[in-house]
Symmetry: C2
Subunit: 553 residues, 2 copies
């Protein structure tokens, strides 16, 4: 009999621990595949320290392939799941031809996404703290503001550059504001034209105190510590909206700033949204064994799922909280349940009692509650770090990270502003005669205008069965139907001689072609004249759905 | 008497060592400013190791502010130099209003740029190895190819993904190909679906042997080492052209590959090009004391300058070679010459005899010639590393980097594919009523289409002196004249209510608006109708010049 195949979507705490435990308990008796958009695991609680330059990014991530021996890791984006045929459709590699992956058991562990859409302008003008890229961006943003402030000529610009606003005082907000202030304090003496009193770092929280996840006394201690470090903490204050120059608070006050970090607002992952599963509070409803009701062999856990902790859950406290600690335990217990199903044993309900909570405050301080015991200061912070080290695979890696952490407290903060090379939204692409630009079924990556040379299109009209041939020369264009939500190519385009195209990335082209009335009108006319209803093949439905989701997101 | 002000443009070896030596020898008696596009110094010879994942990027760079105590570091882009008024015009910060910096002595140390324009398609489809970003990009590219190949379905795609081509076998090409192969060898066991014989790594060199900078015997040793590591070395072979799918060699052979690294082809820095200085072989001609002839108190050195080593220079061997070793010595001697001028002493001509040369070959091997003695293997490689350590500022930093290097040989290669968050080419920008979008004189950053709300334009017609007012509502646009090369704003745009714009980055907009005939025609008509010859103010000349240079580049 062939091995059962278990596919896990998502490489966060819950997905990784489910995969590890499955491999550990079931040996080679099952095939395990983990699909993730990145090929590494991020230790998310360390992101604020990466943003603060306290540790290197490479010390807060681990390759999934290293972490998960004997698990097939697939670097891909899931675009659809068919629960009936037990098939997952993914985009991977460079060809952008969708690939199908089948499963016997499916684990949904894709977490949640940031969702700031309730606050006008916040999506566009605030930074978030969810991914490694966010930590990079924030660190660069702070250093760039210091660099610019050091040579700024207008006082109002300098003030705006030196004001930093963090929205939301949960774990992530508190740790981020602490690290951000620490980075500034440690770097300021390199910037001779900035005096410390010119810097303003603010933390705002809609509730009446910070760190609601911790007992009140620890919340107060944390607030005192932050204020002692020179951070202004405002409670009972939310954010209304944001622009390129600042934020408007719920009090009506406008904060002039270039740097807004929003640690509030999460919503379902875009993929989860379109699966048609029963949702509550933006999460997938599951039973106490983490099964998705009504779907065979489909499981969900971690931040993506709403796992009841008792039989009559009423409010949020009756469900597993979205913490790393719970995600790890959920992953392990889910693995055991899949094993039980495969072996025909009885399932067990998820049960776990929190061992406590911990928040780092920057400057080698933290607050913690462990098994009812409250800890604060340096010792709590050491505990925090030890937990992470215990998680890293391999002794040498642990030693390297530990040494780096130690040395990092002695060496100056790294204030190098490394701007990552950006992927251009427009570029010239050269083709040799005969090169295929794209072929039928490929996911559309962009829009092409011919600069020199020539191309030919071949497609079969799905209604008449007729072969269609067209040629394109300089000044003409192809691939424009992506603005209608048609995400997959219906024909093949090939260079008929050595040629050059100007290419524009899909999303940028869509935004511009829709937002700029001249283009919007032109393409509407062009497409209806040239293609009519001709080629709306069934596979486009998928693309259209994806496009709509993208628009909502 | 006010201090003399010495401005250095460029933060590479020559600029940094000139600044250090000036500060060391002249104390607080002079003001020193160093202007650079990045706020860090890159130890360029280590870039191949960063690309290979052998060291962290943070161990190959140092903050300029840390390196250059008591030197004003300005993170800015120089856009013009006026030698008569001794003024430099820079763009800095966020406002994009040009700022003027004056000097008594000016040191041109901006190095050279990559120039692949002789080979069609190479600029667009090859990676280079000059900046930190290049190293990142190459490392990501290699890992991405392995990830994709691990799940690729078509054999020809897999072959293309697993073929890697390095063009040019000087120091940079040899070190890059060695590190690249090493990264692949060390990572391959994480990719269960790729077998080692499927990987092809090729190095091509136009000359009849590799490493022309070193004695022939060392070149041969190096080639043997590379071949032993499984690298295919082809001499007497150049590249003709490149496309998105591969490269055509001078032999006519077409190599199917997604990864071309070009370490050939350099040209003058775009700024140097437009200064109108006398040039030879793409470098600024200077006298033996490194003065630029005909310009008062202007100096040039490093890769940007052609420094004669004797009174009758005939061929390239009569000039200082473009190596780090010479750049360091040039920096020091230039600093002494500026001191001599200020003190009224006699200048000294640049003189230096190379102490040797060194190339790392990957896998902890190197070849070297030091004072006529040939070294090879592990010992040469240790020498290489020691040289870098001696250069780092501060004992703790040295220790940290040394420990990291040591540990890196034990821990697995980091194969995490961290895709940097890209700066979008199009984005929605929110404005509050009264916000200024841009004002007169600002450098144009992009094109704006109004999505909602409204804006007003105020400008003064420079010919009639008349005040011009215009308003813009949804669907209308402003900022389009950048496609004509007008790089500086002639009026002020302000939001008349809370508004949202769709913004498109300057270069992407220019490329699209010029390359797409519909837009090209529309904007030509629109601009001539709306603005006529109205506002071609003198300050535009600068912008136009910059735009033309940009187009050439």
């Amino acid at each position: 009999m062939a091995n059962k195949k278990i596919v896990i979507i998502g490489g966060g705490f819950s997905g990784v621990f489910a995969a590890k435990e499955l491999r550990r308990k079931m040996g080679e008796g099952v095939d395990i595949e983990l699909i993730n958009k990145d090929n590494y695991f991020v230790f998310q609680p360390l992101l604020p320290e990466v943003a603060g330059g306290g540790i290197n990014s490479s010390d807060a991530i681990t390759s999934l392939r290293l972490l998960l021996k004997k698990v097939q890791v697939r670097l891909a984006e899931v675009i659809n799941i068919d629960f009936d045929s037990k098939t997952i459709t993914v985009l991977q590699g460079t060809r952008r031809l969708p690939v199908e992956v089948s499963y016997d058991h499916l684990v949904l562990a894709m977490g949640q996404s940031a969702d700031l859409s309730r606050f006008p302008g916040l999506t566009e003008h605030a930074l978030t703290m969810k991914y490694m890229g966010d930590a990079f961006t924030l660190r660069n943003q702070v250093i760039r503001c210091l660099e610019h402030a050091d040579v700024a000529q207008l006082p109002e610009i300098k003030k705006r550059l030196l004001t930093f606003l963090v929205v939301g005082a949960g774990f992530s907000g508190v740790e981020t504001v602490g690290e951000l202030k620490h980075l500034i304090d440690k770097s300021l003496h390199y910037f001779p034209n900035i005096s410390p009193e010119e810097v303003q770092v603010k933390l705002i929280e809609f509730a009446d105190r910070i760190l609601l996840e911790l007992p009140e006394s620890l919340g107060h201690y944390a607030q005192q510590q932050l204020e002692k470090q020179g951070i202004e903490v405002l409670t009972n204050v939310g954010v209304n909206s944001a622009t390129m120059n600042g934020a408007e608070l719920s009090t009506g006050e406008v904060i002039d700033t270039r740097t807004i970090v929003a640690t509030i607002g999460t919503g379902p992952n875009p993929l989860v949204k379109k699966l048609g599963l029963e949702m509550q509070w933006g999460k997938i409803k599951v039973d106490r064994c983490m099964r998705v009701p009504g779907k065979e062999n489909v499981w969900a856990l971690g931040d993506a799922a709403l796992i009841p902790m008792n039989d009559n859950p009423e409010d949020r406290l009756d469900f597993a909280p979205p913490t790393a600690q719970f995600a790890v335990r959920e992953g392990k217990q889910l693995a055991m349940n899949i094993r039980r199903v495969i072996n025909g044993w009885e399932l067990k309900e998820f049960a776990y009692v929190s061992q406590g909570a911990l928040a780092s405050l920057g400057a080698s301080k933290a607050v913690a509650e462990v098994n009812g015991i409250k800890l604060k200061g340096f010792f709590a912070w050491l505990l925090w770090r030890s937990f992470y080290l215990s998680f890293l695979p391999g002794l040498v890696t642990k030693v390297r990270v530990a040494i780096n952490w130690m040395l990092h407290s002695f060496v100056p903060r790294n204030i190098s502003l490394i701007e990552p090379p950006t992927k251009p939204a427009t570029k010239y692409i050269h083709f040799r005669k005969g090169d295929v630009v794209f072929s039928k079924g490929m996911f559309a990556d962009g829009f092409y205008t011919v600069i020199s040379g020539g191309f030919e299109l071949d497609l079969k009209n799905p209604e008449t069965g007729e072969d269609v041939h067209r040629t394109y020369g300089p000044g003409q264009h192809f691939g424009e139907r992506i603005i209608l939500g048609r995400e997959r190519r219906t024909g093949r385009i090939r260079a008929t001689e050595d040629s050059v195209c100007l290419w524009i990335a899909r999303d940028d082209f869509k935004r511009f072609a829709r937002g700029f009335p001249l283009l919007d009108q032109y393409f509407q006319d062009y497409i209806s004249e040239k293609f009519g209803e001709e080629a709306l093949t069934p596979e486009d439905a998928l693309g259209k759905k994806a496009a709509e989701t993208d628009k909502d997101a």
